[in-house]
């Protein structure tokens, strides 16, 4: 009997010890350490950044951040080009190039790394619709897209040149400087997936990256791609445009965009027909339809957070937020509702806490209102928007006027041989309050005049 009681006691002790261990482990698991969190604030920030950028890109269209033009001159005589941004966007670069070059194209899969395609022996030129900071555009590319985090540079176009050391890629900004070159250039089909899954820094697959004075090494190709040469997608129609402000955007709307109560502001009429609000300091609508906002100083500007809908400390705003705020302002002021015109971010400068963003109208890649006038210019400082200039246009094709013949890549190649250095430009003229844009072919000698 006693032995049985001892056995029961020992069993109880064993159960209680086991229970104690289990409860202790349970307690530690629930409340001890860092909880083993698998979704960190850094991951959350990365997700939010993507989402904000996605919403901004949605206002301008994904095509804007995808290559607009790809041209090739192959090593075996193959040549071609594609300038339909939407096609490149939907297909991805390698598919677009394959379609362009055909099944016998002078590039092939890399046997050692099947994910890569080498473009050996081909001169490739890639141009984007506009120069954009990488931080704005890197995220929304197709998996094999060329702009995946190529670096912190502003990129407008890219040259891919075969050389004895292997293929080399050169990138430059809109001003033609800041070349960056890479050797062993390859497009990796699966890099983007790997990037998004790892969440780490993504480096585009350029091996042995180096920076050189590309202008010295581009001989043989640079001459073929004249920076003044513009190849249109197809036929271009002459365009006409009217200023939309005033007719379609009520002054009350403009005032609300800039955080002012239309019922409380004072209205003044200038001698030149300009309408001033609030003692002529903050908002004015000129007779030509342009809208200007200026804050007395940084601290009296409109909060960026009030425009973009989320809040950071003053110094934490990035170029994405500045671009985003400019896009939101543009949308509210009717900039993007411009008919046949597209829009492009044509300037984005950031210097610490201050930034400047300009959005221009474009038509088939051509910048419109090039005479220093943009669709919208916004200046930021101290976490606020301190000045805005805007002119919203409504465009339409001008019936019955000249269309320009399509220029294909073969003509381009002929031009590159310096036989006929022509380029295409728009003539702008204003008549009866309409802006007319006429595509013309210009000779280089004419341009120099």
């Amino acid at each position: 009997m006693k032995k049985a009681a001892d056995t029961v006691k020992m069993a109880l002790i064993f159960v209680l010890v086991a229970s104690l261990v289990c409860l202790s482990l349970f307690y530690i698991n629930l409340f001890g350490g860092d909880g083993g969190y698998t979704f960190t604030p850094q991951m959350d920030e990365a997700v939010r950044e993507q989402l904000y950028k996605a919403s901004y890109a949605g206002k301008l269209g994904g095509e804007l951040v995808s290559p607009y033009f790809i041209g090739l001159v192959g090593g075996s005589g193959k040549s071609g080009y594609v300038s339909r941004a939407a096609l490149v966007y939907s297909l991805g670069i390698s598919e677009a190039v394959t379609e362009l070059m055909g099944p016998d194209a002078d590039f092939s899969a890399n046997d050692e790394a099947p994910d890569f395609i080498d473009y050996d022996g081909a001169y490739i030129y890639v141009r984007f619709r506009t120069e954009l900071p990488r931080k704005v555009i890197y995220y929304c590319q197709k998996p094999d897209s060329i702009m995946d985090d190529v670096g912190d540079e502003y990129v407008y176009d890219m040259f891919i040149v075969p050389s004895e050391r292997g293929t080399t890629a050169y990138m430059r900004d809109l001003r033609g400087n800041n070349f960056t070159s890479f050797t062993e250039y390859r497009i990796n089909e699966n890099r983007f997936s790997a990037y998004t899954e790892s969440g780490g820094d993504f480096k585009f697959e350029f091996a042995h990256a180096l920076t050189v004075d590309a202008a010295k090494t581009l001989a043989g190709f640079y001459e073929k791609i004249d920076k003044y040469e513009i190849i249109p997608e197809k036929e271009l129609s002459a365009m006409s445009a009217v200023v939309a402000n005033g007719d379609e955007i009520a002054p009350e709307t403009v005032l609300r965009v800039f955080g002012q109560n239309p019922e409380k502001v004072t209205v003044y009429e200038g001698d030149d027909g300009t309408t001033f609000f609030d003692e002529g300091i903050n908002v004015k609508i000129s007779k030509d339809g342009s809208i200007t906002y200026s804050a007395l100083s940084e601290q009296y500007g409109i909060g960026i957070s009030d425009v973009i809908g989320y809040d950071f400390d003053e110094g934490d705003y990035t170029v994405t937020d500045f671009v985003g705020a400019a896009l939101v302002l543009g949308e509210r002021l009717g900039v993007f509702d411009s008919g046949a015109f597209g829009t492009a971010i044509t300037c984005c400068e950031e210097d610490g806490n201050r930034a400047f963003v300009a959005i221009s109208y474009v038509y088939d890649g051509f910048s419109i209102l090039s005479g220093g006038r943009c669709a919208l210019e916004a200046e930021f400082g101290g976490g606020n928007i301190i000045s805005v200039k805007c002119i919203a246009l409504k465009a339409q094709e001008y019936d019955g006027k000249t269309e320009i013949d399509e220029l294909d890549w073969r003509i381009r190649a002929a031009l590159a041989e310096k036989q006929a250095p022509f380029y295409i430009d728009f003539i702008q003229s204003e008549l009866n309050d309409r802006l007319y844009l006429m595509p013309v072919l210009r000779a280089e000698s004419e341009a120099e005049k």
Partner: protein, 289 residues
């Protein structure tokens, strides 16, 4: 001390230790799940001094859960899933399109959808509330149409609740169904119009593909958020604000890479119509209306 006493002592000590740990677990569990009445009252007083009236009844005492869910949906995966639910269709600019049995259905990659039967016209006329039985029946029908009535084992427990159901003078019945994740409200709402039991029109957004990735995250709670609100209004110099509703929600985020995220958030509504939504992982203000 003899062997018997040692055994009894060990048993008693072990039993007491077990009880202590159980009490600690329950106590900590309650602390991590709920704010005390005292804490809530103190926060209300602090906010009141900072220019925000927030009655203790408005401040949620329950703390938010700690799960973030996501699902990556490829182009092929999206088409395959939509075909599985609705049958064959086409894809246009990423969206699933189907014209079938006299109705047109379009579903975007962000799961925003619209379905209209041919000849559909919006309901009109006087509105009357419908019976619970009808609400329940119509809710099942629209969920069945969207393939949301199927039992799928996923980490995120997704449920639906009819928010309103009205019969119009035109004879049509309109119901509004909201999506919940783990019992927490989302901003995903389905609106459906029936003629009798026939579904004529439906639009809105719902998680047609359910998240399978389950992350845990350290979250802010409504106390942290309200302190941020106090700071926000002190900087922005607003007039005195009165909080009307503070609630936890799941923010449904879709990105262009085909990933859907369900991230815990906190919505603060004021009597003047101002709504601020905070991400509970980062504690940042993500939406201000």
């Amino acid at each position: 001390m003899n062997k018997k006493n040692i055994t009894v002592f060990a048993l008693a000590a072990l039993a007491i230790l077990n009880v202590i740990i159980v009490i600690m677990i329950i106590s900590n569990r309650v602390d991590s799940t709920y704010h005390s009445e005292r804490e809530t009252a103190e926060l209300s007083a602090i906010l009141d001094q900072g220019g925000i009236s927030a009655d203790v009844s408005v401040l949620p005492r329950q703390k938010p859960g700690y799960h973030v869910y996501s699902e990556k949906v490829s182009d092929d995966g999206f088409l395959s899933a939509m075909t599985g639910i609705f049958g064959e269709g086409s894809v246009d600019d990423g969206a699933f399109i189907q014209e079938k049995d006299g109705r047109t259905l379009k579903i975007g990659r962000d799961f925003a959808f619209e379905m209209s039967a041919s000849g559909y016209s919006a309901p009109y006329g006087d509105m009357t509330t419908v019976k619970n039985e009808t609400r329940s029946r119509l809710e099942k029908k629209v969920l069945s149409f969207l393939g949301l009535d199927r039992s799928v084992a996923t980490p995120a427990a997704i449920s639906y609740k009819t928010e309103s159901a009205f019969e119009y003078g035109s004879g049509q019945t309109q119901i509004t169904v909201r999506e919940y994740v783990g019992g927490i409200m989302t901003e995903n709402v389905i609106t459906a119009v029936f003629s009798g039991d026939e579904l004529e029109h439906a639009n809105g957004r719902a998680l047609l593909i359910r998240p399978t990735e389950d992350y845990t995250a350290k979250l802010c709670d409504c106390f942290d958020i309200m302190i941020k609100e106090k700071k926000y209004f002190s900087i922005n110099g607003a007039a005195r604000m009165t909080a009307e509703k503070i609630e936890y929600i799941y923010d449904t985020c879709f990105d262009v890479l085909g990933v859907v995220y369900l991230i815990p958030a906190c919505s603060v509504q004021y009597t003047d119509g101002t709504v601020h939504i905070y991400d509970l992982v980062s504690g940042n203000l993500i939406q201000s209306n």
